[in-house]
Amino acid sequence: MISELKQELTNMINDVNSLNDLQNIKVSIFGKKGRITLLTKDMKDKTIEERRQIGQEVHQLKEYIEIIIKQKELFLIEKKINDDINNEAIDIYLPGMEFNSGTLHPLTITRNEIESFFNSLGFAVIEGNEIESDEYNFEKMNIPKDHPARDMQDTFYFSVEELLRTHTSPMQARTMEANAPDGPIRVIVPGKTYRRDEDDLTHSHQFMQIEGLVIDKNISLADLKGTLELFAKNIFGSNTKIRFRPSYFPFTEPSVEVDVTCHVCHGQGCSVCKQTGWIEILGAGQVHPNVIDNCGYDSNVYQGFAFGMGVERVAMIKYGIDDIRLFYNNNLNFLKQFDKIK
C-alpha cells in the first residue's frame, strides 16, 4: 500500500510543470490532511510493532518524497529563470541614451598638446595682453620705425603708440625685463595675434601663435635644434625629422625657418608638401643681441633661442584642414570632429 502510494506520488511530482502546482502538491502530501500525514493518523488499533513498522516506512517515504520534490523544485526554478531570460530578450541594436559630450575647439586641443609638451620640458606658460604698445611689439624686438617688417599694411593700430600685437613676442620682452639682469628664462607664450590681412584659404587676420624663449649663458642653436626635434616627434609622430633653412627675422640672428617631414608622404613628396617632402612649420633663431640688450640683459654674457609657430598651421597639418577660416566659422559639425583625436 505504501509502495503504491510512493509510485502514485512520484508520478504526480514528475508530472508537475510549475512551482505553483508543486507547492499545491506539497500541501496535499504534507499538509494537515496530506496523504502522508494521513498515513499515521489511524494507528490506535495497531500494535506497537506494527506502529513502528509503519512509522519507519512512512518516514522513509517522507524522506524520499521530500528529496524528489526538492529536485523538482530546483529544476522548475532553473526552468523559470531560463524562460524569463528568453522573455526578456532586447534589441541590442537600438541606440543607447544620448549623452551630451562637449568638445574643445581644435585650436585649443592643438594648443593644449603643444603646451603640455613644452611643460614636460620645464617651460612655464605665460600669457599677455593682445593690445600692445608699439614699443614692445616692435621697438624692443629690434624692429625700429621704417623697418619693412612693420609695414602699415600688416598691423592694426589703435593709435600711433597702440596696436594689436602682430606676434606674441612682446611677451618675450616683458618676460626678459621681469627676469633681468641674470634670471634664466624658459617660457612659452600662447595667444591670439593679428595681421592686417584679408582672410582667405591660408590667411586669417586673427590667428593663434605660440612663442618660445630660452635665455641663459650658454643656450645655443644646437639646443634649439634638439628642442624642436623633440617637439616635432611629439606632435607629428616619432618618425618626424626637421630641417633648418636660413631665413630672416629682425629679432633673431641667425634666423631659421623650420620644416618637418611631410606626415602624408613621409618625405617622399606629395601634393600636400608640394612634392618637396617638407612642410614649413615655424620660424626660430638665436635671440638678436639687440633684443637681449633692449630687455635688460648683457648680450655679451646672455644668449638664447626663440621660436614662434602658428597654432592654426599646426592644426591644419595635423588634421588635414585646407581652409583656415573653418576655425573661426565655428560650424558645430566641424567642431565636433576633433574630440576623438588625441
Binding site: L104, F158, H205
Partner: protein, 791 residues
C-alpha cells in the same frame, strides 16, 4: 626677384650646375627660390626657311609653306597672316612637344586635303608671355631677323635656352636685387670663380649741369651725359634676355637702362637732354597742391613728403618713382642724361605706396640700394650702347670703406653649440667676398659693399653657418636651472573652466575679436569702444567689449545649417572699463539633452543655464552662498526682463544670464535661446574654497515630504531660508520636487512640494522628535510667509 640663369653665368662660373639644383642650393642658403622654369618650351624645335609659300587651295585662312629644315623640306599649312616666302622661322616637326600650343603634340595632319607636316611657331606657342610681345608678334608667327643654319636646334641657336629663377627675398637681402651681388653669393656657396668686372668709369670731364641737393632724403646724385646716340631696336639676343628678366623690349636706350639696373642693382633714370630746359638741377621736397604729368600719361598730385627732381622750374621726376612726360626719352632721342642716385628708401617707399607706383626701379629704391656702386650701371650702359659717357656731374658719391667686425672662434662655438674649424670659418667668409684678417683665434671681417645687412659678430656667424650647413648642427638640449613657475589664477581658472564646461557637454567656439558698432551695440553695456584707426573693412573695426554678439551670431550661423540644438561656450579677452579682461560666454538653444526612443529630450531653459553656471562655480569651490543669484537691477536690452538674473559675489556682479530678449529672438529667429556672460577676471580675484573632510555620519537620514500652499508673491529662496533657519543642524537638505498651479487652490496661491532630509549625525531621531520638528517648520512657514500645509 627674377633671375636669368644665363645672365648670372656671365658673372659667376656656375660650373654647369643645372638651374634646378642651383635653385635648391640658393633655397638652402636662405634665398628662397619659389620657382625655376625654362624661358621657352618645346622639344626638337628647329630653324626653318620658307622657300615657297602659296595660298591653300581650299581655305582662305591657310598658307601652304614649303619649309626647308636642312635635311628635308616640309610642307606645312600655316594659319598665320604674316607668314610668307623667304622667311626664317621656328619649326615644330611632327612628334614635337609644345606645352603652350593649342595642340601640345604636333602630328602629321591633312588640312583641307593638303597634308601638313608640322607647325611654324609663334612666340606664345613656345611660352613667351604675351605681355612682352609686340602686336605683330601676338598676331602671327615669329619671324627671325636674319639667316641661321637650317635645321639647327632653334631654342639654343636663338638664345631661348635660358632658365628663370624666381627668388623670394627676405628684407635683409635686398642686395640680391643685383645680379652681380647674387653672383658674389653664388660664388661663395659653390666655392667657384666670380668674374671680376670694372664697376667704375674713367674720370671724365665735368658735365654741363649744376646739381643742388636741398633735402636729406637725397643721399647721392649723379648725371651722366651721353651724346649722338641712335635710338634703335635691340639685338634679338638682347630681346630674349629681356623676356627672361621680365621686361618688354622697346628700344636700346630703355632696354639697356633696364639691363644696367638688373645687373648692378642701381636703378637709373634717363632724361632726353634736348628736352631739359635748364642746366640747373635741384633735388628737394615737393609743395602741396603741385601737379605732375608723368611719362605714363597720368597726372599725379605731389605732397610735401615727396622727393622731387627739378630742372629749372619744372619737375622732371619724382625721385626713384617716375619721370616726367616732358623730359622722357623716345625713339628720336639723340642725347641723354642718365641719373644714378641714392635716395632715402623710406621716402621713396612712402611715395611709391601712396601713388601705387611700383616699378622695378621704385621697388629697388624702396629697399636700400648700394650707394657705393652708383657708377656701375653707367659702366654697363656704356658697354651695351657701345658709346662712352661724355661728361659727369656727381654730388656725394662716396667711396666704400668697410667697417671691421671682430669675431672670436669661442663666440662662434658658443652661439652655434658646435665647433667648426676656425680656418673653415675664415674660408667661408672669404668665399663670400669678405676681406678677413686673423689675429690668433679672432677674425676681423670687412664685408663687401653689398652686404649692408652684416653689421655685428652674430651676423658673421649666420654667414658661416648657412654656408657650412644647418644640417651639420648636432642637436642637444638646453641645460639650465629651472624655477617653478605656476600658472596664474586666471590661467588656472580658464583651464578648469574649459574642462568643466566640456564635461557638461558644451562645445568651445573661438570667434573674431574685431567687430563693428552696429553688431556690438545690441549686447554692449557701455558702448565705449576701442576702435582701430586703420581697419581693413567695415566689418572689423572695434576690439569687442562683449562676447555675446559673436555668440549669438554663431548660434544664428549654426541654425542656418539646421543645427537646432546647440550648447556653446567661449573664453576670450574683451576690452571693458579701459582694460583687457577675460570673459566667458555660454549659449544654449534647442535641446540640452537629445531625446530618443529611450528617453525624452530635455529642452534648454533658464533653469538648465542656471544649473550649468552654479554647478560650474561650485566645482571651482564657489558654492552657492558665496556666489548668489540676484534679480537684475535694470533691464538689459538683450535679455528677457522676467527671465534674467545676475550672478553676484561679494556684492559685485560677476555675470549676467537669461533668455534672449523676445524682440531680438524674433529678429534673429532664435526662440528660447539662453545666454550668459561672466567676468572671469573678476572671478579669478577670489579663491575657490578647497574641500575638507567633514566626517562621515553612519546614522541614516529620514525623509519627509511636505505639500504646501504658497502665496504667489513668495519666492523659493525665502521658503528654503525659513525651513532651514534655526533648524539647520537637523534639516540637512531641502529639495523642491514639485510645483503645481491649479484652479482648486485658493486664489493667488500655488502649491510647492518639498522633500526634507532630516538627521542628527550623533543619534537616531525618534518619531516624536521628527514630528515636533516638522510642526515647528510648518508654524514658522505660516507665521513668516503665510504658507499652509495642503490638505
Amino acid at each position: 626677384m627674377i633671375v636669368s640663369y644665363k645672365l648670372l653665368n656671365k658673372y659667376v662660373d656656375l660650373k654647369g650646375i643645372d638651374p634646378f639644383e642651383l635653385g635648391d642650393i640658393l633655397t638652402n642658403a636662405g634665398l628662397e627660390v619659389e620657382n625655376v622654369r625654362a624661358l621657352a618650351q618645346g622639344s626638337d624645335l628647329v630653324i626653318g626657311y620658307v622657300k615657297e609659300a602659296y595660298p591653300h587651295p581650299n581655305s582662305d585662312k591657310l598658307t601652304v609653306c614649303l619649309t626647308d629644315v636642312g635635311n628635308e623640306t616640309l610642307k606645312i599649312c600655316c594659319g598665320a597672316k604674316n607668314v610668307g616666302q623667304d622667311m626664317y622661322v621656328i619649326v615644330a616637326r611632327p612628334g614635337c612637344q609644345l606645352d603652350y600650343a593649342k595642340v601640345p603634340v604636333i602630328k602629321k595632319v591633312t588640312l583641307g586635303g593638303v597634308e601638313s607636316n608640322g607647325m611654324i611657331c609663334s612666340l606664345s606657342e613656345i611660352g613667351i608671355p604675351s605681355k612682352f610681345q609686340t602686336h605683330e608678334q601676338l598676331a602671327g608667327i615669329e619671324v627671325l631677323d636674319h639667316e641661321y643654319q637650317l635645321g639647327a636646334e632653334a631654342l639654343k641657336t636663338l638664345g631661348y635656352n635660358d632658365f628663370i629663377l624666381d627668388i623670394s627675398l627676405t628684407p635683409n637681402r635686398s642686395d640680391i636685387y643685383s645680379i652681380y651681388a647674387l653672383a658674389i653669393e653664388v660664388a661663395g656657396l659653390l666655392n667657384t670663380t666670380l668674374f671680376d668686372v670694372e664697376q667704375n668709369i674713367e674720370q671724365k670731364q665735368e658735365g654741363l649741369y649744376h646739381i643742388n641737393i636741398e633735402s636729406e632724403d637725397c643721399l647721392s646724385y649723379g648725371l651722366f651725359t651721353f651724346t649722338n646716340l641712335n635710338a634703335q631696336e635691340g639685338s634679338y639676343e638682347n630681346k630674349i634676355m629681356l623676356y627672361a628678366l621680365g621686361f618688354k623690349p622697346r628700344f636700346n636706350i630703355v632696354d639697356d637702362g633696364n639691363m644696367a639696373m638688373v645687373i648692378s642693382g642701381n636703378p637709373v633714370h634717363t632724361f632726353d637732354a634736348d628736352k631739359l630746359k635748364s642746366k640747373k638741377f635741384i633735388i628737394k621736397k615737393g609743395l602741396e597742391e603741385e601737379h605732375f604729368l608723368a611719362l605714363d600719361d597720368k597726372e599725379y598730385q605731389i605732397t610735401k613728403d615727396d622727393l622731387l627732381i627739378i630742372n629749372g622750374d619744372e619737375i622732371v621726376a619724382i625721385a626713384g618713382v617716375i619721370g616726367s612726360k616732358s623730359s622722357c626719352i623716345d625713339e628720336n632721342t639723340k642725347n641723354i642724361v642718365v641719373e644714378s642716385a641714392a635716395f632715402s628708401h623710406v621716402s621713396v617707399r612712402n611715395t611709391a605706396r601712396r601713388l601705387d607706383l611700383f616699378s622695378e626701379a621704385s621697388v629697388r629704391f624702396s629697399k636700400i640700394v648700394n650707394s657705393y656702386t652708383l657708377e656701375f650701371p653707367i659702366k654697363i650702359m656704356e658697354e651695351l650702347l657701345n658709346v662712352k659717357c661724355d661728361a659727369i656731374n656727381k654730388v656725394n658719391y662716396l667711396k666704400y670703406e668697410a667697417k671691421p667686425i671682430k669675431l672670436t672662434h669661442e663666440k662662434i662655438t658658443k652661439v652655434l653649440g658646435i665647433t667648426i674649424a676656425f680656418e673653415e670659418c675664415v674660408a667661408i667668409l672669404r668665399r663670400l667676398s669678405f676681406k678677413v684678417e686673423i689675429e690668433d683665434s679672432t677674425l676681423i671681417a670687412y664685408p663687401p659693399s653689398y652686404r649692408k645687412d652684416v653689421e655685428i659678430d652674430v651676423d658673421l656667424i649666420e654667414e658661416i653657418i648657412r654656408v657650412y650647413g644647418y644640417e651639420n648642427i648636432i642637436a642637444s638640449l638646453p641645460l639650465q636651472e629651472i624655477n617653478d613657475h605656476p600658472l596664474s589664477n586666471i590661467q588656472t581658472l580658464v583651464n578648469h573652466t574649459k574642462k568643466l564646461l566640456n564635461d557638461f557637454g558644451l562645445n568651445e567656439i573661438i570667434t573674431y575679436q574685431l567687430s563693428n558698432a552696429r553688431k556690438l551695440d545690441q549686447f554692449s553695456l557701455e558702448k565705449n569702444y576701442k576702435e582701430l584707426y586703420n581697419p581693413l573693412n567695415n566689418e572689423r573695426m572695434i576690439y569687442r567689449d562683449n562676447l555675446l554678439t559673436s555668440l549669438v551670431e554663431c548660434i544664428e550661423y549654426n541654425k542656418s545649417y539646421q543645427i537646432n540644438d546647440q550648447q556653446l561656450f567661449e573664453i576670450s579677452h574683451v576690452f571693458v572699463d579701459n582694460k583687457e579682461k577675460t570673459y566667458l560666454s555660454l549659449g544654449l538653444i534647442g535641446n540640452y539633452y537629445q531625446g530618443n526612443w529611450h528617453n525624452q529630450a530635455l529642452k534648454a531653459d533658464f533653469y538648465i543655464m542656471k544649473a550649468l553656471i552654479f554647478d560650474w562655480l561650485a566645482k571651482l569651490g564657489f558654492y552657492y552662498g558665496r556666489v548668489l543669484i540676484e534679480p537684475v537691477a535694470k533691464d538689459h536690452p538683450f535679455l528677457h526682463p522676467k527671465k534674467s538674473a545676475y550672478i553676484t559675489m561679494n556684492k559685485k556682479i560677476i555675470g549676467v544670464f537669461g533668455q534672449l530678449h523676445p524682440r531680438l529672438a524674433q529678429e534673429k529667429k532664435l526662440n528660447e535661446c539662453l545666454i550668459a556672460q561672466i567676468d572671469l577676471s573678476l572671478l579669478s580675484t577670489n579663491k575657490g574654497r578647497i574641500n575638507k573632510y567633514e566626517g562621515l555620519s553612519l546614522i541614516p537620514s529620514v525623509y519627509r515630504d511636505l505639500s504646501l500652499i504658497v502665496p504667489n508673491d513668495i519666492y523659493a529662496n525665502e521658503i528654503i531660508k525659513v525651513v532651514k533657519q534655526g533648524n539647520n543642524k537637523l534639516i540637512k537638505d531641502v529639495k523642491i520636487f514639485d510645483l503645481y498651479y491649479g484652479q482648486e487652490l485658493p486664489e493667488h496661491t500655488y502649491s510647492m512640494a518639498l522633500s526634507l532630509e532630516i538627521g542628527n549625525d550623533n543619534e537616531n531621531l525618534n518619531e516624536l522628535e521628527i514630528n515636533n520638528l516638522i510642526n515647528k517648520v510648518l508654524k514658522e512657514l505660516q507665521n513668516k510667509l503665510n504658507i499652509i500645509l495642503r490638505n
